[in-house]
Symmetry: C2
Subunit: 384 residues, 2 copies
């Protein structure tokens, strides 16, 4: 499963000693070919971690033969030394794997910002991981990239003769552009890097870019798509793009379902917007409203906080034509009191908010989480 | 003190029964002249409460003879009936006060969005409040506008022969444009409404517009400045503007100090920005970063979260030239590890974050609060 569900890939996940608690912290994913086509999407944060700066350069070549991922440290805001460490990581992997060049090895890191990685543990870890590479190593790799994730996250879609699989980690600092995550997708479809790039961007735009757990954008977000061509099959673009989007959608939903401290997953659907951009802007504004997030946590269908969030946007709408449903009860109609709020049943983890802008026919879905005392505790009790 | 510190004003604060718990909930401020010049600044939220829509119209005339304020209900998202109720409130006050027209009576409300006000209690309350109007009623008025505020907030500056005083309420939904607040300022200076308007806008831009407790913008924000001319003195503009700004600054600082659930007041100063707009954009981005707000609550000088917030802005800066100090310890230099974070003492309520963009000479100060389990509790345990 995971990154080894597609043919042509091996992976490993080990404990290299980067994490003080001894948990797995180093993953290696290797594309055994015959192709090494790849595409990548990275954080839009202007403060980018060293591995992001490195991997962006690697991806410009359109080829990735291996990915080294570590948890236990983000290697962000670590200056020239941090970049040298990422470079050394790629060089080490190239040396250990043989026949690969460092320029085709992507690196991804996640953990605390502002601390150098323990290279005396990481580099030997790469040697160890290389000895454990296996066509069944996908799950171990997915486990090794966890930080505050409570479960590891994998997804697979198999089509006629080819497969797209992947793994993801991400639990906090989840906001669009991208959400804080490391994701590696693999496929044995026989496609070039330009096709992979288009499919990946089409997919992330509608999936990872539309989850917003806590409004915070990471320095390390990395989503990679690697193609081995090992199936010998070249699917039609539309079918392939659908499969990539399905895997991304599945993983994105898992990220929301495991967000730090969350007790609710909130599906915000904005309908009848004048444009998709308007729908996304309104959805994100609702997703980031702390007061609403608290109300949802308290199972309070406080639609006034939805309207106050919509009112901060530049989207086209008339305040007295707005309608809002919570779990399908239209508690706000025409900008005012609608159905009885006591009809709203909010006992379950998933909460659906529908915002009708009555301004057009575009729509968008944004996923968010509630704001809880557990979130505060997880992010205040220790550095992460 | 408060709104009755300046000559020419009377005020009252009573319990009209709008709040179920019987606490004071209705305030009346009357300008006895000889002048009735006034200026107002209102929420930039596009979803505006009925009293905001009403008072915006009143202020267009440049004259206000009285203000009716209620807590216990925002009268926001209440449709045509809500607006009729505000209108009826002004008419009732005009009738009771005699000699005043409803078109010169401003109305302000605060409380839960989406519920109609109990007019059967509010209208008799106006009659009762009118009988209690007093030149010493300022404090009672300040108490009557409290919602989740733990203390009432007043400030006064007295100059040579004239005074500016005021009251404020606001504890949650505090974000720029404006913060969630009702504020009434009064002065006995003899000035016209155009001068008042300029002084008020100059002051709010640098004070109320730069506090951001929880990133949430209200539907009801109202800041009014009323001048009676009773001192017979016309101060120079600069001196008057300074006094108004000092009173606003004092009240804004009190709002942050009493924000819902907060345990820290965070003073974010952005320096060496290319422009004041850049400095404000960066300051607000830092102010709204939930992960950083949690870290500050945990007394963790997590400067990586400051950098990740700066990185989401469009301000001019180079990531490897950013410097960040927390309580004057430069924990981040040149975008990387700086002085030892263990040197940062965060035991006190006030925390100072300095972000040096190394891109120019402009600066701005934004005030924020930390994010706490108490904030979550206050905003999830019941509707507000």
């Amino acid at each position: 499963m995971s990154v080894t569900a597609a043919q042509g890939f091996t992976a490993a996940g080990i404990a290299a000693g980067i994490k003080a608690n001894g948990n797995p912290d180093l993953a290696l994913v290797v594309n055994d070919g015959p192709r090494h086509a790849a595409a990548g999407v990275f954080t839009s944060n202007r403060v980018k971690a060293a591995p992001v700066l490195w991997s962006e350069q690697v991806l410009k070549g359109g080829a990735v033969s291996a990915v080294v991922l570590n948890s236990g440290g983000a290697n962000a805001c670590t200056g020239p030394q941090g970049f040298q460490d990422t470079h050394a990581t790629a060089e080490k992997a190239a040396q250990v794997l043989q026949g690969h060049s460092a320029g085709e090895i992507a690196v991804a890191s996640t953990g605390l910002i502002g601390e150098l990685l323990p290279m005396d543990k990481l580099l030997p870890g790469i040697e160890k991981a290389a000895t454990e590479l296996s066509a069944h190593g996908g799950e171990k790799a997915a486990i090794a990239i966890k930080t505050t994730d409570t479960v590891h996250k994998t997804a697979v879609v198999t089509k006629d003769g080819w497969t797209v699989g992947g793994m993801a980690k991400g639990a906090g600092m989840l906001a669009p552009g991208l959400a804080t995550m490391l994701v590696v997708l693999t496929t044995d479809a026989d496609l070039d890097s330009a096709t992979l790039d288009k499919a990946l961007r089409d997919a992330t735009r509608l999936t990872f870019d539309r989850v917003d757990s806590d409004g915070c954008m990471s320095t390390n977000d990395t989503v990679l798509l690697l193609a081995s061509g090992a199936s010998g099959t070249t699917p039609e673009y539309g079918e392939f793009a659908d499969a990539v989007r399905d895997v991304c959608d599945d993983l994105a939903r898992q990220l929301i379902g495991d967000a730090e401290g969350a007790s609710k997953d909130i599906r915000i659907e904005v309908v009848n917007a004048a444009s998709e951009d308007d729908a996304v802007e309104v959805g994100r504004s609702i997703a980031r409203n702390n007061l609403l997030k608290c109300a949802i946590h308290g199972e309070d269908p406080n639609w006034g906080r939805v309207l106050s969030a919509i009112g901060t946007t530049k989207a086209a709408f008339e305040p007295d034509r707005l309608n809002v449903a919570i779990n399908d009860v239209w508690v706000c109609r025409n900008g005012s009191v609608g159905e009885d709020r006591d009809l709203v049943d909010m006992r379950y983890r998933e909460v659906r908010i529908t915002a009708d802008l009555a301004a057009g026919s575009a729509s968008a879905v944004i996923w968010a989480n509630d704001l809880t005392a557990d979130y505060v505790h997880e992010n205040s009790a220790y550095s992460s």
